[in-house]
């Protein structure tokens, strides 16, 4: 027996990147813009989508891909909004249950009618760590961070806060009841992702949701760029 060194020099997530590019090609081909929406569990992604999509966004046909470890509670909530919702459960893979990866999204594509929509919102599994590592073929990444989570979160999860180009600061209706220093949060956010676009929102009352809708409309209006 002898040992041979083999040069690999490959990004560890290369396989995922390849599949993400294939997804992106399919999305671009169908003229569909894709947003990957991420957050911690319970930050309010589904409530935000209920609010943002409830009355519709003018001129934009939106579909939703719901990623969950188990169950279809979120998809059921959104299905009354008359937007096409596809459920994707992640409980059938070892190590894949805490986030969506490109292959999982690819497996759901046959169930999504891309000709019927202009934009696909992918609601990722609630998790501030793993989803940040795995691109799924999206045009843009956004996240929700709620005031109930505390102002230190950008510093604790910089990978997630850095990878997003839009941050929804949610549950501002709770500000009188929680120890949350908004100025400090925004300063922390600016340290981790300088100049990132953000909106102060209460998905519960609807306050500020229009800023998220406007951002989505802006993404939809972008020129298709190479993945």
């Amino acid at each position: 027996m002898h040992r041979t060194k083999v040069k690999v020099a490959t990004d560890a997530l290369d396989a995922n990147t390849t599949i993400a590019a294939a997804n992106r090609h399919d999305f671009d081909h169908a003229g569909v813009k894709v947003v990957n929406l991420m957050s911690a569990p319970g930050a309010g992604k589904t409530t935000l989508l209920e609010r943002a999509l409830g009355d519709g966004i003018e001129g934009l046909r939106v579909g939703v891909l719901e990623g969950d470890v188990q169950g279809s509670m979120d998809a059921d909530r959104l299905s009354v909004l008359h937007v096409p919702v596809t459920q994707l459960n992640t409980d059938n893979g070892f190590g894949g249950e805490c986030h969506l990866d490109a292959n999982m999204v690819r497996s759901a594509l046959p169930e999504i009618d891309l000709d019927e929509i202009d934009m696909l919102l992918i609601e990722n599994v609630g998790n501030l760590v793993c989803p940040a590592e795995f691109r799924v073929g999206e045009d843009a990444r956004a996240m929700v961070s709620s005031v109930a989570e505390g102002e230190d979160k950008p510093l604790k999860y910089p990978l997630m806060f850095r990878t997003c180009e839009f941050v929804v600061v949610n549950k501002i209706d709770l500000l009188p009841y929680v120890d949350f220093d908004m100025d400090r949060f925004l300063a922390n956010l600016d340290q981790v992702n300088p100049g990132v676009e953000h909106a102060l929102v209460s998905a519960r009352t609807g306050e500020g949701v229009d800023q998220f809708q406007n951002w989505l409309a802006g993404v939809a209006a972008r020129e298709a760029a190479p993945a």
Partner: protein, 119 residues
């Protein structure tokens, strides 16, 4: 907690390049900004490698410190906390020179000696 996902990706990459041969060592570089805990990654690597050609292989990790460069004033620095504004001129236009790596660099494979001697 994303070490399990990364360990799976590392093993899959090594298995692909090993092409059926047994792997003794996997060498990788990890950037500090990827927030990977080396001991945790090693732990999951050992588990995920079971029943593959990487079973029992050693994982060698080289940690690359975060290194940033300001595109406006040219200052280079190694941040110790996740702060990405230039400490000199507060610019947000900052280039990442190092710290974002997550690469499988090489693998060492074990091969039988080719039998060339006559019987």
């Amino acid at each position: 907690m994303h070490e399990l996902s990364i360990a799976s990706a590392v093993v899959n990459t090594a298995v692909k390049h090993a092409a059926g041969r047994r792997v003794a060592v996997v060498t990788m570089t990890t950037g500090a900004l990827r927030q990977v805990v080396p001991a945790s990654l090693e732990f999951y690597f050992e588990i995920v490698a079971r029943d593959t050609v990487c079973e029992g292989a050693r994982l060698e990790q080289e940690l690359v410190p975060a290194r940033l460069r300001c595109e406006d004033c040219g200052q280079e620095w190694e941040p110790e906390v996740p702060a990405f504004r230039c400490p000199g001129c507060a610019s947000a236009r900052v280039e990442m020179l190092g710290g974002n790596e997550l690469e499988v660099e090489s693998i060492e494979i074990e091969e039988e000696e080719a039998c060339i001697a006559p019987r």
